[in-house]
Symmetry: D2
Subunit: 354 residues, 4 copies
């Protein structure tokens, strides 16, 4: 299905950057999850631009839950959450309506929808739609916490600067989840932000890598072929517009290892089966093995930049140049972090089932 | 769904390594595709072990089409292809039935299926099931060729040795598709095979990276959220047991680029919109842009090795050691190549629709 | 999926009778369908209660399109339509919150959702949610008209009174689609309404049968097993809460015919293949044959009645009696008519594909 | 999906009447169900033609389980069952290959598949494919019995003769499940068979109605909109080629009742909530209420008859006549019975989930 994902728990996304509202319908979450409005708000805040390193478009993200919640708890029926669009300066985009912004969906959308697409600010392809994922995901995260399943993501690399590696997962997750710019080492965050500011000064942008850990998963989630844990997580993660790579465990670096180094040997830790290493990212044969699931997403640099770019006018079918005057971020890696957490939570809810 | 994937064109997999047969049901391929039996055979040959660098388990892979084909053409109704298992020495595996082979699904399957799993040779989790994907994919490849869509994959890296980069896609694809060990540079193939033999001598195994290109795709395939081209391709690719990473275009390396370098500028090539670079892998906003789709899969080293490994006996719940006496490959990267091509073809058929 | 239906064109429903709003997300409709706001309004009016034979709950049904429409045309991306709830007197229902209204979902919802269900007015099970189907369906109907596919439904029987049979489909459909109480013979409508008023006076309710015809369908829609036209239409139609039977063509009466009478003989009408009779409802082997598709839905009498009824209190788990003080309809057959048209249109759009 | 149905438990059908084999893949049944080969055989026998009232095409229906079963128990992975075609006299059908048999899929298949369809004996549209449903359903029935869920179907009406009504469900189900011609009253069976023989003598055929009861279902199965129990059952039942109507509880006759008569009043039977009547067929708001689920299927008379029929030659596009020389049944109602049981069992397994 096009804008719907999941079986037991499904999410349907709708909305355009400059339309009336964006939103999501989440179906299949169990009845009885307490809705923590403050938590949803704080998650949305984590996605919002911060300070000088971000776009000046700051919206209140005043979400509204239209259905599926009664007297503060989920009812078990579909939850529709909408976030009205407020600060939408459509004029900014009028100039470029037929100039294809490089690495954006302007051109592909134009061909796919035959000119009927809402071109303003990327329309339905805008990163703004991820706010709906974050609002929906916040409820999923609350539910998983009850089941002692925790998710945390750090900016493992940004603008060429590496963060330190995960240490103790539980405390790291706790620390990360309150940070607006989520690194494990705060000094690395400062370095990254310096680099981001440098790019901004040049009218340019930077990318990075997000690393996520999920703890507390039972053994046995996922299905052997086609609904492996890697399959369903990557499906959802690659829906995030800027993600161009997903790897689990040692990921691409496992391809340089020998089998004897790559294999995660099992051992008994009391009554529990564990592995000494985690090169397979907590997944064997597509099924969770009880060890934390770990994966990384490559996030490309924001395609919208101020530097003049060569492109085409897809109505006139001729070459042209583009100088983007619109508001934009020199980096979205830190903002994408909570989107990854949210979408991961929704997928995990789907895998856990009822 | 568990062992079924796709909407317009769907594939359902079944079978176990040492059961009667493995197979696939492909539904939704158009009527009228000519069945090229020799091509299916040759594709299966590409997946089979070769020479000294592979497992001694060599099966004829005598596929049989049970349905969906009439007088040499597809009928438009479901095609069931089965491949009987012939050379199945179950005794090899009896010793290890409760010893979890590291990085295999023995332990996760045991917990998931409560001891009812067919543990012989990995059962339903065996790489052998990919033969069914290859047979089914061969029909998909034939169909796509009619539509001038071509798929080629090379071993971009193996055992630490890099192949050269793609040059002219069309001629490279032609050359690759007849090679048993598919590199663009034959000298690199020799080096890789040397390294594989070294690992084999040590009772060890190696991994690698496969790089795939798909040419001839129209603009507009894929859906914005959740069924982006990256989403559906990665979903299918991560079903291949050994794949631990998938990246499109520049992939993980894009995260180190500035936006001005990463963006693929559009230009007019006569009447056609093209891009000067292809860091986005032919996909903008999840939708094909008419430029070749390019992606890479990280293939882990074969988990089955002769070296003694520490593990647990999951019935006795105690530590133990494992010396695998079974037949195995020191490398499966070259064999996984045709599996990647095949699954890609099936996904593309699904995206193209009827 | 739970509250989502369709493949190429899918509909997701959300909302509760007394919540903030109800609504639908329609995904997959082509770009470029002109949105006829007046038509959507008039369709919603057809679903609304009329005059003395209906519930006093009359809402404006002021729908709002939040997404998927730009400058008056569909964009090809998901359309979210919401209808705020306005006239919701929750107090009416407070008395009965643990008394299971017979033939309603109060008890089953209570067990299914563990007491977290929104019990007010039937919550998510309320017939009110069908207003969202009607709004969404109106767009589908507009689209199908462009393709010369027309849908019409008449009250074929109500309160024991039969309407006349279809004559000329095209003119009948035209006539029906503007009627608030849609019979082919206006005198029959009067008789039916008399019977409805009699039932109302007695605090009781009546049911009926709706008969639908779809003209202009191409040959070849539907799939042989599991997605036969009968399968997908009945799936959708049985989602309408009051529908307890669905039959195609001669339906149940075909079971008393001999094959020689039941078979629809083909003949050439100029260059077109037609059938002399239509006992199969325009469907052979699950596939449309180019003849109008005809089906009937049995609509049960409104379960909410004023007559005192015996039931249980499912919290106290004891027998009790129920006198419904809430607003209700003595008949919903005439209101269900446009719901059947709407859901049929959405299913046809799904079958027609892009 | 085209030939696949179900979410938690899915069934995929393949095969043609005169191809190599027909079969089914069942995915999602739990591990550990004991395979009762004799029961599968006896179920297949119930579907096979009997004595003088049926077609002379009698096949052994020697099914083979290719996957998903190990040491006599289901493994939890996909079960592929095939039934080779043995007694296929293709020559019988060669004459009629371009004459559309009335009420068959010859013409619709020809248009849908552009002439590539396997036209022999109805190809993929043949009732023979239901043998695969029966084999797969037998495993589902075995599983449901373990959970104390029982399914029984009787020929409620055939050739205009009514059977008696259900009495005690459990004993009736027991009695029915061993009968080749399943009526509750054996005298009615004799009368029906007389009528069938009369039709046969005239080269004609008859239809009937099957009534099914499912006992032991928990409260709470099904989903409010789109996956109501009625929706998913009817979806599956209408896949059976001869079914033209499906009704639940009082079905079409409920449309003539007043609400006070139609409503099923609840009462306490000890600690259990029950209803005094069952006009809603055990389903409220699309959700099971713990009372037996009851439904009826209208089965049309066998379309293949010996009487000469008018039709068209769809290759020559001209009128012609057809005298069917092929083997055929004067009635399939009694044979369809076990198909209804089987498909019902598969749907119930899907609803019950893991």
């Amino acid at each position: 299905m096009k804008n719907t994902f999941g079986n037991n728990v499904s999410v349907t996304l709708f909305g355009e950057s400059h339309g009336k509202a964006i939103g999501a319908v989440v179906d299949g979450l169990p009845a009885g999850i307490k809705i923590d409005t403050d938590f949803i708000k704080s998650q949305l805040t984590l996605r919002r631009p911060v300070g000088s390193i971000s776009t000046p478009r700051v919206e209140a993200d005043n979400f509204e839950i239209l259905s599926g919640v009664f007297e503060g708890f989920t009812t078990g029926t579909p939850i529709c959450i909408i976030i009205p669009n407020e600060n939408t300066k459509s004029k900014d985009y009028s100039e470029i309506m037929s100039k294809a912004r490089p690495s954006h969906a302007d051109y592909t959308a134009h061909i796919k929808y035959g000119g009927f697409e809402d071109y303003r600010g990327g329309g339905h392809f805008s990163g703004r739609i991820t706010a709906a994922i974050v609002a929906a995901g916040a409820i999923a995260i609350s539910y998983l916490k009850q089941k002692n399943i925790h998710i945390g993501t750090h900016i493992s690399r940004c603008a060429g600067v590496d963060d330190v590696a995960f240490g103790d997962y539980e405390s790291d997750i706790d620390a990360l989840n309150s940070k607006q710019f989520a690194t494990l080492d705060d000094d690395k965050a400062k370095l990254m932000q310096q680099k981001i500011m440098e790019a901004k000064t040049q009218g340019d942008s930077v990318g990075g890598i997000l690393e996520t850990v999920v703890t507390g998963l039972p053994v046995g989630l996922g299905e052997p072929w086609f609904d492996s844990v890697e399959s369903v997580l990557s499906h959802a993660l690659f829906s995030i517009p800027a993600v161009k790579g997903v790897e689990f465990g040692a990921g691409f670096s496992i391809s340089d290892m020998n089998g004897s180094a790559a294999n995660d040997c099992f051992y008994m830790d009391g009554d529990t089966v564990k592995t000494k290493t985690n090169n397979n990212g907590g997944i064997n044969g597509g099924i969770t093995n009880g060890i934390p699931v770990i994966f990384r997403c490559a996030v490309k640099p924001t395609p919208t930049i101020s530097v003049e770019q060569q492109t085409v006018d897809f109505k006139k079918m001729e070459n042209t140049v583009l100088s983007s005057g619109g508001r934009h971020d020199p980096c979205i890696v830190h903002r994408a972090r909570v989107v990854v957490d949210s979408i991961t939570a929704l997928v995990i809810c789907d895998l856990v089932g009822k």
